[in-house]
């Protein structure tokens, strides 16, 4: 049966239905209008089909009839309180709704557009209905003279309302995709940060008579790098430390980094001799890969042991394919600490590892870094290299681990885009003992 379209008994609007309808309105209330004028074109098409001066697209929330597009009227003018709105009356109707003469209809004569400017008499509307049956609002056509609406005109009006619904659906889908992408990106970055934290110690331990500081300078926020470092207690009063870099980036590199970190710590407990630690790590990485088809994973690393002495520490370190550590002496001179000929770890047959020892006295500092720093390009396009780094440190003469890290940070900032890989830095320094002794108040007699 065809529904009576011209007038009709207003059905009781169930409160639950209205709550669901408002939820639908909020769902489709896309905050950012794409600004493509799609709804404005619908309004002007509606006006043209009816040969009427005014047409609007309205969405009705709990209190207001909000105008999303207007033809022949400013959107601001047709925004009215729902209680008195002409457009709100269309909400109660399934199909198209027509009022031939609004001034003679007590239901809508209070609408300011009927009572005042522009003096609307004729009104026709088709509801914008969601796929699950909620009427969000309507496409409306208005004229300032009383008239009738033709069947074809009303059919076209219904089609336009369906078009508006389609447009709102696609805006909703787009905004959901954008939000999902934003969420995924945020998740990926959060995961990368969490992973990075598991690969690096949360804080370096307090070592008596030693100042230690470390930093990680990632190139990208969402890609996990393969640089690692640690400082931890060994037997007695000795301490172990390491810093290195695995080949590759991303998830595989993160898994490998984790394996290397724990292997180094376990190997150091078993036998802290630096060359032996690196040889054990090499054996574990080779076993890990045995029979694999992909290129074998490898890393470069420096592993060292600190042994306290009378005025500082004896440091013994072994290197495996890693750039040399640098010592900044108390007098400002910079010297490399480089065991001769250490090779890549995990990929070579019978790799060679070598170790070297030196004293770190009060005021001396040791810097370990990954090749993201020394392979960075300077303004002239050449590689910074350890000579460039040593020269920079000699010119700035940093005093102590914190100052050394700040100097490296400054250098990385200066190099800017010349840095194309992550850089991890570990600095160890021997504080200069304070010679000022707090004067004591003499005891009261």
């Amino acid at each position: 049966m065809r529904r009576e379209e011209h007038a009709g008994k207003e059905p009781d609007v169930n409160a639950t239905d209205e709550a669901r309808r408002l939820a639908a309105v909020r769902r489709y209330a896309v905050p950012d209008d794409p600004g493509d004028g799609a709804l404005d074109r619908v309004a002007s098409l509606a006006a043209r089909i009816f040969h009427a001066p005014i047409a609007t697209v309205t969405i009705i929330d709990d209190e207001w009839v909000r105008c999303h597009a207007g033809h022949g009227i400013s959107a601001r003018l047709c925004q009215t309180r729902r209680a008195v709105s002409l457009c709100a009356s269309a909400l109660a109707h399934d199909g198209a709704f027509v009022i031939p003469d609004a001034s003679a209809d007590p239901r809508v004569s209070a609408d300011p557009m009927v009572a005042g400017e522009p003096g609307v008499r004729f009104y026709a509307a088709a509801p914008i209905t969601t796929p699950d049956g909620h009427r969000l609002g309507s496409v409306n056509v208005m004229d300032t003279r009383p008239r009738q609406a033709g069947v074809e005109e009303l059919d076209a009006l219904r089609d336009l309302a369906a078009l508006v619904m389609g447009e709102l659906e696609s805006r909703l889908a787009t905004s959901r995709i954008v939000a999902a992408e934003r969420r995924q990106r945020a998740d990926a970055e959060r995961l990368a940060r969490i992973l990075q934290r598991t690969l690096l110690p949360p804080a370096l331990p307090q070592v008596p008579g030693l100042h230690a500081a470390a930093a990680y300078h990632p190139v990208s926020a969402d890609e996990v790098g393969g640089d690692f470092y640690d400082l931890f207690p060994l037997d007695g009063n000795r301490w172990g430390f390491f810093l290195g870099d695995v080949c590759g980036k991303g998830a595989d590199a993160a898994v490998l980094t984790s394996l290397i970190r724990y292997t180094l710590r376990a190997a150091a407990v078993y036998d802290p001799d630096p060359c032996t630690v690196l040889a054990n790590l090499d054996a574990v990485l080779q076993q890990e890969h045995a029979g694999g088809v992909t290129p074998p994973p490898y890393c470069t690393a420096i592993f060292g042991v600190l042994e306290p002495g009378p005025d500082g520490f004896t440091v013994t370190l072994a290197g495996g394919g890693h750039p040399p550590a640098l010592i900044v002496r108390a007098n400002g001179t910079v010297e490399p600490l480089h065991p001769d000929g250490g090779q890549l770890i995990g990929i070579l047959r019978d790799p060679h590892f070598a170790q070297v020892s030196t004293r770190l006295n009060a005021g001396d500092a040791l810097l370990l870094y990954t090749d993201g720093l020394t392979e960075a390009r300077t303004a002239s396009g050449s590689m910074l290299d350890q000579e460039g780094l040593a020269a920079y440190l000699a010119s700035t003469a940093p005093a102590g681990a914190d100052d050394l890290l700040a100097t490296v940070h400054e250098l990385i900032t200066t190099l800017g885009k010349g840095v194309s890989d992550d850089t991890a830095v570990l600095a160890l320094s021997i504080p200069v003992r304070s010679t000022t002794v707090a004067s004591r108040e003499p005891c009261a007699a």
Binding site: P295, P296, Y298, G321, Q343, L344, M383, D385
Partner: protein, 118 residues
Amino acid sequence: MQHDHGLTVTLEPRSTHLHVLSVAGDLDHHTTPRLRAALDELTLAPGNGLVIDLSALKFCDSTGVSILIAAHQRAQEAGAALALAGLDPDLAHIFSIMGLDRLFSFYDTTEAALAALQ
């Protein structure tokens, strides 16, 4: 660093027992399979010599390093000799930090490498 994932690998026999493999462009995880395939096709016999000419190599990442090490191991297993020629000074420096100068023989030019392997 900008690189366009282009790599060309050309094999050129110089005598019955000497081969030159020229590697030009970017050697990274995208292009390494091309060099691996070229090496797989090559049959090395005891006493043979292989020169890998890297003078036109623009970029080499960790997978590139891996494949060169794999090439060395294959040559060793076959009783053949491998030499690297024309390595860019920066890359030569990085290789020496990795301790690969103990593994590979480096030569300035392909001709110098061939003369040494003769």
